[in-house]
Subunit: 482 residues, 2 copies
Amino acid sequence: MKLYEQAARTLRQRIDHGVYRVGDRLPSIRALCRELEISVSTAQEAYRRLEEAALVEARPKSGYYVIPREVPTVLPSVTRPAQRPLDVSQWDHVLALVDMAPDEDVLMLGRGVPDLEAATLKPLSRLLATLHRRGGAHDLSYDRLSGSRELRERIVRLATGSGCLLHPDDVLITTGCQEALSIAIRTLAAPGDVVAVDSPSFYGTMQILKANGLKALEIPTDPELGISLEALELALEQWPIRAIQVTPTCNNPLGYTMPESRKRALVALAQRFDVAIIEDDIYGDLSFATPRPKTLKAFDDDGRVLLCSGFSKTLGPGLRVGWIAPGRYRDQVTHMKYVSTGASATLPQLAVAEFIAKGHYERHLREMIRQYQRHRDVLLRLVKRHFSADTGISYPQGGFLMWLELPAGVDCLRLNERLAASRVRIAPGSLFSASGKYRHCLRLNYALPLTATVAEAIRRVGEVATDMVAEAIEHPLADSQR
Amino acid sequence: MKLYEQAARTLRQRIDHGVYRVGDRLPSIRALCRELEISVSTAQEAYRRLEEAALVEARPKSGYYVIPREVPTVLPSVTRPAQRPLDVSQWDHVLALVDMAPDEDVLMLGRGVPDLEAATLKPLSRLLATLHRRGGAHDLSYDRLSGSRELRERIVRLATGSGCLLHPDDVLITTGCQEALSIAIRTLAAPGDVVAVDSPSFYGTMQILKANGLKALEIPTDPELGISLEALELALEQWPIRAIQVTPTCNNPLGYTMPESRKRALVALAQRFDVAIIEDDIYGDLSFATPRPKTLKAFDDDGRVLLCSGFSKTLGPGLRVGWIAPGRYRDQVTHMKYVSTGASATLPQLAVAEFIAKGHYERHLREMIRQYQRHRDVLLRLVKRHFSADTGISYPQGGFLMWLELPAGVDCLRLNERLAASRVRIAPGSLFSASGKYRHCLRLNYALPLTATVAEAIRRVGEVATDMVAEAIEHPLADSQR
Ligand SMILES: Cc1ncc(COP(=O)(O)O)c(C=O)c1O
Ligand SMILES: Cc1ncc(COP(=O)(O)O)c(C=O)c1O
């Protein structure tokens, strides 16, 4: 860590621990230099970082002051999905979101795509170019079915950071995290079976259930604590649940990270009822906490957790590099992987492995986490300004996705239609439910620099949404009349 | 087409049509120049091509003579698989074949990998490198779910060459042909359903059946004509068959191309019984016939053929670029594609599209077809020399795979074990059957230049096989005693 980063961290910890409180003046540059034995420019850089992170502000001729953290006034409510297993619908709307031509001239405020213009990502393109230019016969041939040994070794080392002790042979490379989830679910469940999910839940996983004739049992979920263990326990008693599928860290779409104690309890619950857990950790490395939170897999002592992840959210989804650590289901998952796509593409794996090996990944994560945390606060401010005061706003602990809950009666599918003229799109909340609940909710993406254009688009979304709130109050039946 | 190619083709056609017969002397260089109005060097080059293709030989001071074609003396027998739907087994053996580390120091004589060192392939690596170096945000992002429009347009144009009239929207890009087959099968059949297949059949497809709890009904297959339409018709009358899966052009592993009349009849049969056909055409572009044979899809007037293909055998499997033209099943296949891996990787698609657009693909195919045809004849000669005279040998009409049928009682799984010491491996025939039939058969690959090392390896395989034939005769019960 650089000196200024160390200094910034020291100050940050003091703010976090209440040594300096909101409104307090922080040590002067000179005082800081003396105390930490650093140079003036280092001290200045440290303060610049804290400003960027929206923790302090500089007041001219006075010094640096701790400013109030941007936190939501209203969180989304704890969800209350259907109490029974359901067939998944919503495919048409998912398709509309995912099959857009990438260059269509529409501002996609709702997609799950990270910032791909980041300077710290450039070495990846260079590595890819170099590897492809080499063009050896091995690179164009089938890779090992389980994937490149180099990459699996890197993944295993990274996984120690989330509390997992894995061997490279415990990991299989997949074509994106989607394939990891898909083969995990197909390994565990057969048509007609029930899978319990957090709710709202990533639509990609819900659609896997649909495609395989499985039923989703959506479990009430707290926007700060994650899936309700109490409700899950009742469900496990009542229904023949074959697997639990959750995204417990930097959840998509809610942004929470389940507290460690609850993660531990979730694994214990799965053990008690002898069901498997499919854990989606694709945003986990983008947690704003240091060190990054542990996975459920870290508490898994009998191999029942199938950990699914990948580099789509940290590097780029176009690479299609994902992975799975399938625990005791390794053999079946290997078979499923083979029939699904055979071996994965060779060179993207090698490029990612080298990107990690050379330290680029760590550097890039550090940069992105800082950026996303800053963007979260800026977006929060914009949403508070432009949406009605009773809008529930999630407070993401990582990643780059924010969930808004508008007053009941507002229909975000219609919101999207109305936004079409402004060439703006959000992700309607109904995609994240088996039966199209959460129509009054929406997902926003804050990965991209919040330029004036983006800010204006957010303002516009807020404006249209506010109009719709007013209409919903005036004509409460409008929706069902349509 | 170059002038010498035209001249060579003219001569070749005359040989094919019996104008010149085996042993006949061909026109002298001078006569040919006069007749075709070409230069001496062109005429020489034309004869050089015919020599390479093992059609003529030069006799010093005399001229060029038509030589006997290298054709097998004994073809493999028409197969007689089980007469009822079976669960698929053999996964352990398939895994042993497909999960080899690519750099292990073993000569893989049985794998389905093309020549990846070809000079005509080099532009592909250059294109890939250039595209990756660009490293734009779009390239790293999710592509359209159906894949790159450019590539789909190119595929549609190529498909006219096999008699298909497709629109780019009729095509979805997949992660290799394996994914195309996998989603096609999952679209059509549910656990317990029966799928009819040609037999022997590509193990990758058989394993898809296994993974999805489907049963394979293996249909007797002729090594020259393909799947028996008579047997298939009986099967369709007797069993509730949900789909027919065949590889009718340059079949893997038998190498036949079904005659056009039989292809037409197969589609008509499927119509009569109202079942879908999953057509695997991955080797079709490598047919030795010009123009390349039509697909079943060319005769499909009601969208019941799901045509699966890709560039793994023509360019390189490490690219993982495949495609499917799913006919009337487009919507369900699109959903299956989404849940399977989401969008496919962006840049390999663009690289392949450009490779085709710039004429590299056509050039490369021409070169490879010439090479593979030559290699087939060389391998045929080697097999005839080193294997017992009663060995059935397929006569591939395209691609780079040859099927040998040893006398009954020889066990090619054991053959592989015995070859381990020589660091040589073949693909045992039992992989190509649901229940492990064809143990006395094996598949060889002739894509690679048949160097002295390869020739020696073939000799060694023949030697061990011949020993095993002798043992099988002496100890006919040895196998069941083990
Ligand atoms: C929670 C979650 N899991 C999995 C995926 C799929 O990731 P990939 O693009 O690697 O298939 C996504 C992407 O949107 C996601 O948000
Ligand atoms: C007949 C056949 N179909 C499909 C495939 C799979 O192709 P891909 O590597 O594109 O998934 C193969 C590869 O061995 C094959 O031989």
